[in-house]
Subunit: 215 residues, 2 copies
DNA sequence: GAGTTGTCAACTGTCGACAGTTGGCAGTTT
DNA sequence: AAACTGCCAACTGTCGACAGTTGACAACTC
């Protein structure tokens, strides 16, 4: 299991840096200065270097020899390539979830969908948090630890690119419909349908991302 | 000294260690002593630590706080989980390859298959090298860099577990047949067939691995 | 003035040393 | 003899400092 408490400074640094990268506090394209960040975190360069290497292995930073670490910025080709990977993983997860889900998995999924609807009706924007929660719940229902691991990493990278995503209401509505349809397929144990719907869903999200990238 | 492709000592250490882990020179279950290995490689603990962390992120080592890095050993559940991931990735790759392959991709695939047959008829065992080459060629034909990246990592982890795999002739023959069938599907541009065959192929390989794990 | 070369500051890559933690062993107790 | 306790060696986690490389700017040549 992953250590609940990151005792090591490197582990803490990973958490802090990941947060800063994902929230855009360290903007895409910018460089990470080792001594500067080390001082800011109050640690030495050793643990920080390990943290940087770790985040690089997750795809949240790119390493350039003798130049340092950079936050990768969005790029159409990268978005497409990333979504091909995400589609491969999440479609497989959807299939597995359809055949392995328990009843409590189903309840959890419906719960998330219901909360999304409530939120939407209340006029509030569909929070990305709930979208993530839905996919996370589905992944867990698939009960495939290695796939779950990879999906988590890919979703992180998607979040990183998400700065360029404007969530217009039509897109939100379509996403919620997709989610509902997915839950139905999973409930029926229809693996093929789950995979198909997931593919269509992700294809839609990818297209949305590409258009809002070009604005 | 030798002018290496990887200038950094950490990069070199990664290559050397990866080789030693994959060949079983460092046997599964054993621990990696930082000072000992550092001395053996003639480098300091800093770069070595980064190398160890890198290999851990690839799944070739597992890290235990305050205890060090260990080479993970085979386990039935792990094999199954890993092959679920591999199946997800390679089936998607097979689909993409079927729709994107060029004629030279096709030639390369047929080349590898032909060499496998020659090798088999010559009475020599089907070398794992050729199996890897086939899958690698197929992945490249899919032209999806992020998927290719992940497949490479997963295949590495499979190689790591492969110590327990006895390649009996029937299995080799079946594998070659699968490969031929895959090439046919890819040649026809039949994505669905490519995916189906790949799934069956990997399912067979996984089963073979599980049985030779239990003897 | 354009291009080339020399110089420099900043930063990464690397190292050796110290501190904190872990697991095991010897000695002691019941 | 089994279990508990305290100590010890080994190892990891961390740090500060030094060396090598890179990119930029200035000086110089044509």
């Amino acid at each position: 299991m992953t250590p609940p408490l990151h005792l090591s400074l490197a582990g803490q640094a990973v958490d802090v840096l990941r947060e800063q990268v994902l929230t855009g506090e360290i903007p895409p394209g910018s460089r990470v200065n080792e001594v500067e960040v080390a001082q800011k975190l109050g640690i030495s360069r050793g643990p920080l270097r390990e943290a940087i290497r770790h985040l690089a292995s997750e795809g949240l930073l790119t390493l350039v020899p003798h130049r340092g670490a950079f936050v990768p910025d969005a790029d159409a080709d990268e978005v497409r390539a990333l979504f091909e990977l995400r589609t491969a993983l999440e479609c497989a997860a959807a299939e597995l979830a359809a055949s392995r889900r328990t009843d409590v998995d189903l309840v959890r999924l419906q719960e998330v969908c219901a909360e999304s609807r409530r939120n939407y009706r209340a006029g509030q924007p569909f929070p990305y948090r709930l979208d993530l929660a839905f996919h996370q719940t589905l992944i867990d229902a698939a009960r495939s630890p290695r796939i779950a691991e990879q999906v988590r990493l890919v979703q992180q990278r998607v979040v990183l690119l998400r700065s360029a995503l404007d969530d217009d209401p039509p897109h939100q509505h379509a996403s919620m419909d997709d989610h509902d349809e997915l839950v139905k397929a999973v409930a029926d144990g229809d693996a093929a349908a789950a995979s198909t719907v997931m593919r269509r869903h992700l294809s839609r999200v990818c297209a949305q991302m590409l258009t809002s990238l070009n604005h």
